[in-house]
């Protein structure tokens, strides 16, 4: 399925699941999503993360609803607990074997995201490893001066902001040097296709989900 369509579908399913309560619909998404991820050969490490990462939040919401009320509601507690897994599985289905570059290209070519956003975001994402390193360097430099920069320290964020401002300036100059002009139509090298079949699959999955969500408990 087209990456942009897949993202839209996941967001719509998550949004609809969060505003309406249906255990059947949640379980259908979880089972369907797991089958899709099995088909896509998700690694064991990711399966373990998928199961155990949301567990604290799921347990917390279950306990608060099931034991926290004056009259217990197992059905509603289960709905909210499975809802968390719906969010996580839907997110994993979108992200499996999909690079941010392909997703942003799809949003630009198929969903008319302005090129300045597409290229700005892609340029920024390409600096991801450098930014990770920059935060480590800032903290290490602080340590060498005997200044511990914790995550709540304004100086840590300030230095990271200054690094980001400088990197943004350099990247913009690089883009402009390569003849990038904002709000101008651009040719594409790698095109991302969006076919009628993508929309048919999208409609079928969304309609099935809505049917379960609004008709089953």
């Amino acid at each position: 399925m087209n990456p942009g369509v897949k993202l839209l579908l996941a967001i719509l399913i998550a949004f609809l699941a969060s505003i309406n309560a249906s255990l059947t619909a949640n379980l259908a998404v979880i089972i369907g999503g797991c089958l899709y991820l099995l088909f896509k050969k998700l690694t064991w490490r990711r399966w373990l993360l998928l199961i155990f990462l949301p567990l604290p939040a799921a347990a917390a919401i279950f306990s608060a609803i099931y034991w926290g009320k004056t009259h217990t509601s197992l059905q509603y507690a289960l709905i909210l607990t499975t809802r968390i897994y719906v969010f996580v599985i839907a997110g994993t289905c979108v992200g499996v074997h999909l690079s941010p570059t392909t997703l942003v290209r799809s949003l630009e070519q198929n969903f008319h995201l302005p090129s300045k956003y597409a290229y700005g975001i892609l340029a920024g994402l390409n600096l991801f490893p450098q930014m990770q390193r920059a935060v480590k360097v800032i903290r290490a430099a602080g340590d060498m001066r005997g200044e511990f920069l914790s995550w709540w320290s304004p100086r840590l964020y300030f230095k990271a902001c200054v690094t980001a401002i400088s990197a943004a300036e350099n990247l913009t100059q690089g883009l402009q040097a390569a003849a990038f002009i904002e709000d101008q139509p651009r040719s594409v090298i790698a095109s991302v296709s969006l076919t009628k079949k993508d929309w048919q699959e999208f409609s079928l999955i969304l309609a099935s989900f809505c049917l379960l969500l609004f008709t089953c408990p």
Partner: protein
Amino acid sequence: MQKLHVKDIIFLTLISIIFGLIYLGTDFIYDGLTIALTPFKLGPLANDIMLGIWCMAGPLAGLIIRKPGAGFLAEFLGAAVELAIGGQWGVANLLSGLTQGLGVELGFALCRYRRYDWLTLISTTTMTALVTFAYDLVKNGYSHFAPALIALYFCVRWLSLFIFSGILVKAIAQLVAKSQQVRP
């Protein structure tokens, strides 16, 4: 009204990456708080205590860039980065990013993008608390809690937002302004 340029968008993406990493790094604090509060039937309160940290990108970007859309975009991209690098909330990160970004942007819009002082930060704090709380009433079942508990959750959320997305963000923005790296 000024619009965002590619330089602003790159900067917002970089800020979002930094905050996305921090959001992911603070997830373990959330997990610890949740585990500690669950026996007291207050597990979801961890969400409200942490929300101020998870909403810092938007107000900071808004204060530095000072253009419409900056707060929303930074908040949404921060959530997208957290999702991409393995955040524990899955696609709900994007929905949270949308509601948090909307709250922050409404806060700036209420001040008409003309003033960037404490009043604006109180506005962004309050609007973010209202919008995100309205969503949590439905999404996380807060509407099923007792009225006193709902009031407690809202007050904790507002306070967390004020401390992290207000006081801490203002301190960072002042340091950036003093460094004269940004010319609004």
